[in-house]
Subunit: 348 residues, 4 copies
Amino acid sequence: MDHSETINFASENYAGVQSDMMQALLDANKGHARSYGNDEYTLEAANLIRESFGADAEVYFTFNGTGANNFGLASITNKYHSIFCSDVAHLYVDESTAPETFVGCRIFVIPSESGKITAEELRVSIKRSGDIHHPQPKVVSLTQPTEYGTVYTIDELKAIKAICVDNNMLLHVDGARYFNAAISLGTTLKEMTTDVGIDVLTLGGTKAGMMFGEAVIFFNKDQSEGYKYNLKRSMQLASKNRFIAAQFTAMLTDNIWHRLATHTNNLAKEFERRIVEVPSVKVVHPVETNAVFIKMSPALHEKMQQHAHFYYWNDLKEEVRLVFSFDNTIEEIDRFIKQLDQYSSDLN
Amino acid sequence: MDHSETINFASENYAGVQSDMMQALLDANKGHARSYGNDEYTLEAANLIRESFGADAEVYFTFNGTGANNFGLASITNKYHSIFCSDVAHLYVDESTAPETFVGCRIFVIPSESGKITAEELRVSIKRSGDIHHPQPKVVSLTQPTEYGTVYTIDELKAIKAICVDNNMLLHVDGARYFNAAISLGTTLKEMTTDVGIDVLTLGGTKAGMMFGEAVIFFNKDQSEGYKYNLKRSMQLASKNRFIAAQFTAMLTDNIWHRLATHTNNLAKEFERRIVEVPSVKVVHPVETNAVFIKMSPALHEKMQQHAHFYYWNDLKEEVRLVFSFDNTIEEIDRFIKQLDQYSSDLN
Amino acid sequence: MDHSETINFASENYAGVQSDMMQALLDANKGHARSYGNDEYTLEAANLIRESFGADAEVYFTFNGTGANNFGLASITNKYHSIFCSDVAHLYVDESTAPETFVGCRIFVIPSESGKITAEELRVSIKRSGDIHHPQPKVVSLTQPTEYGTVYTIDELKAIKAICVDNNMLLHVDGARYFNAAISLGTTLKEMTTDVGIDVLTLGGTKAGMMFGEAVIFFNKDQSEGYKYNLKRSMQLASKNRFIAAQFTAMLTDNIWHRLATHTNNLAKEFERRIVEVPSVKVVHPVETNAVFIKMSPALHEKMQQHAHFYYWNDLKEEVRLVFSFDNTIEEIDRFIKQLDQYSSDLN
Amino acid sequence: MDHSETINFASENYAGVQSDMMQALLDANKGHARSYGNDEYTLEAANLIRESFGADAEVYFTFNGTGANNFGLASITNKYHSIFCSDVAHLYVDESTAPETFVGCRIFVIPSESGKITAEELRVSIKRSGDIHHPQPKVVSLTQPTEYGTVYTIDELKAIKAICVDNNMLLHVDGARYFNAAISLGTTLKEMTTDVGIDVLTLGGTKAGMMFGEAVIFFNKDQSEGYKYNLKRSMQLASKNRFIAAQFTAMLTDNIWHRLATHTNNLAKEFERRIVEVPSVKVVHPVETNAVFIKMSPALHEKMQQHAHFYYWNDLKEEVRLVFSFDNTIEEIDRFIKQLDQYSSDLN
């Protein structure tokens, strides 16, 4: 139902299901299996995740990213707590009032640059611990990579973790595109996670090429008694969970995650290399994973929409986002740049 | 990963994905499509649902049944309202505290017989309308078919709807196995829904053979302004919604729902015909859809577990549930009954 | 503004402020005092409560009973828990959906006789511990005395506490009229509380003669870290808390609580002694504290309303409640009975 | 229990009950009166409020300001809405997570200067109306006077109301010290409220000299069906409401509110006149009602604490707040300034 000619750099959610994932779905569709995650597919996926992230982790699966973030955060907080995140965090700007409904904590935001907050800004934002009138600081929630495709370095993560420890707070990471961050840093998943001291990780599957499904990985066990109950309460427990699990198993087998994230990161890098040559636009954030943000005039954006889908990310600043999915190609970038070049010339 | 020899009458959630549904998933996996339900697959499925249920309906999709019930109920209530359902309703006994968290209304329960409540019992349960100290009656939530596989007749539904109207209340139906009820009554979907005056329907897909996905169909528009926002807030909005929608389209095309529900209802009827001959057990609820509840001793249940999976539904009453999925067969029933017969003889 | 001739047996909330309490308010109105309970009046009242109830208790103050119950229960539960109480508990029938909003747990009810539940009924009601699909049993909430004025004996309390311990649950008591229960049992406050093993007690002040104010007394410290934050979050923390505290200090000084509760219990006993002589009505619940429930025809009730205020408690059963406040008198009972006698004769 | 020598400029909540209010409490303590606000005292107070604020208003009473704000806001919003307020609003920084628990909306903050936001800053902050992923803008909540004692002019209020109207939003005002604002502007209460188009007003009683009690005044009736139920649900409905009502009646009779607010505003003005002469400190916000904020060194603050209570409002900026209550006097200001002068000299 899609015009095959139109290039799609709009969202990984526009892409379908990557072929290995689809094969995994077909393979898992054999006979009966226990429901609600009590099946062997779920056990296998959880074990693979533990192998990659940390032997001691507790692993749960959810349908989507909003469910994963809110289930994870609700499971490690009390209702009088506060959560600190960047002012552009998905949790804060794109999850409606699910946090108020399901987590019930206050969200305090910290100014960000290209999606990242600094340890120092975080440090001065944490206030009034022990003051009954004020929400009590409990969690820092980072997005890695950020909503602008940038990546916290291991040192930056450790500095933020240190602030958490100083303030008796926990570190949550929204990793909707986590694999892309690992490729960008050139680290293992474990180095970017367990070694840093992340307490809870939302590990995205959908944007990486799955049909649906995310994992929530708990390294902190303080309130672990409630994890399983909160999962059901969050309306995120899949009846036929084997189909989420099988996709994660595929993703973590034969380094498929590595291959897919390398591909999409490379597309972004290639796009950046080409786009800097186009005088009418300007790259506005460091390109570190699979997205490129550029300043583009409304006129140009409108013309390009005939050939390619991509979003205005910030109307006021005239910034557009181009994000690359597992099935995007160099050839599409060629076509896109060629077309943009032409319009740019026309406009001049 | 499942022992092919073991018969599974445990749950439709143990079954995998029916082949037409799986084909629909493969077919929908072509190129890019708009996310969050703004795609043509979603439009097509919603239109098909409107054709089957009522031209004026508003249709939303969710991941699972708990999500569907709670999203639907939260969308038509205020926080000071109450919801009336049977004492065995899934909403009440199997959705953790999702109703408290997401809907926020009081749930009042009504005694049931074989899963059904009567209009009269409902009528006397509705109390203290206008009394500020008491939750205010707003919704009656029925399960059709019930958790015991029984079915409200059209007249029973109309009688209950009349009580709703008298009390200025709305009628919600949890239709996790809705197609089976329609087959049982021999009515169209519309006759069982729009003609009765149902205000909100949870239409189950997963138990009918889908990988995941339910629909929430609103016929009442009083608070329709908020439906779409509540969907996102409920953490039930799928990024790649086309894959839920495509399965519903398959289900409602070429009468597949009719064929599947007829098959599973017939299996139950056949099972009932056979089981009444077995002296050691006893059918305890009317068999009206695809489930059979029988009284069976723990000793017998334990022995049978080597050959077939099925659940003790009520330990105290020694009642087990056998439920038939799209991929169960007469041959499995043969084997089951034969085995049961043998154990029964041994025990005597 | 009230017709002095009209007798008021409607509610202790119709009564004003008992003179010692009012004097305490006047005495506390001297100069400035720290706000939000950081004042010496609050410290003194909390110490007096600890003296009476248990040296190790944590004491908080709230504005009203609904606030006290919900603050107390929210402080000892997680959102996936359930609370068990009688089917006539104030918490369940007279606090709107405050429990859903503020506590967020499921309330499961147990059938009661004259307001009381039995240990055995409780025991069989507690189900599905460890089952993720079901709210997890955490608290039993009793009302002492009950909404029907009856009193759990020490042995009954201990039997219920034993069920709690067996099920890893906590025991909360709604003691809106707690002093009346102690007088009825002839025990100290400690014997009825600490010795029984109550975990959280709502201690009522308003119905006992205060202008406003209740205390929540925590004996269990499992989640004590959050008590103070939950108090503020519950919107129950008084700015000028000294005025609640001073009334409690008055109540617990010179045995005033003892005197007041003895007086109101005695009025009920006297009323009962008289009313059993009146043939047209019938006492329907044991009279153990300061309330009497009688079956009375609507015709009689209507006639009596010209002379006395009292409520129909149950329209269907034609039961009225007469409750005695600190300022009610034997003389009013005389007048009431005389009038009732006359109408009774007229009606015969 | 207070050292009579110590001056208290810490908070109006440190002050006790003003004599007219206390007399009203004594006068209202006569016989029985209907509970839960169904009494004649409550009717009289509501009528007086309607006389002062607008004939068409619906009036409810609460125990405290946090209860009033959250009850009011919950009554005019749905759970997917957002509320905009200043970054120093009491609602945002001093009410724990009561807004998340009871209102459930996102709170978005707007930068403020001396506690005030501008219509223009508000205008650019309101975003993504109609976007399902984002909380939907519904209410602007101002504090009048602000937490820094400054006052929005009638024109400023009208400009903000115009932004509300443009965006289909409602205007709530937290008027914990509302009377002081009216005195400051020299307007009637109606001119500052109804004429401006305020939709919901929290009218503070406690800080103005009452023992406890606030009023919530609704001018908008869109969701008025739910107001009374939400009041009970918010745990703010007083059993013996006559005692809140009687104080409001006293406050609005014989212009007592006018006299008290004039007195405290004048004290602040006088304090300002004197303090500008003291070289070691500096007034940092416009003095428009009954509070003065000054920059003061920790050393000086510590020394002054021996003689007077007042709070560090902002440790980082070394700003202290001095706030004047109904029972503060010019003589206390004399003593304070004299003492401060002496320490200032010593330090130089």
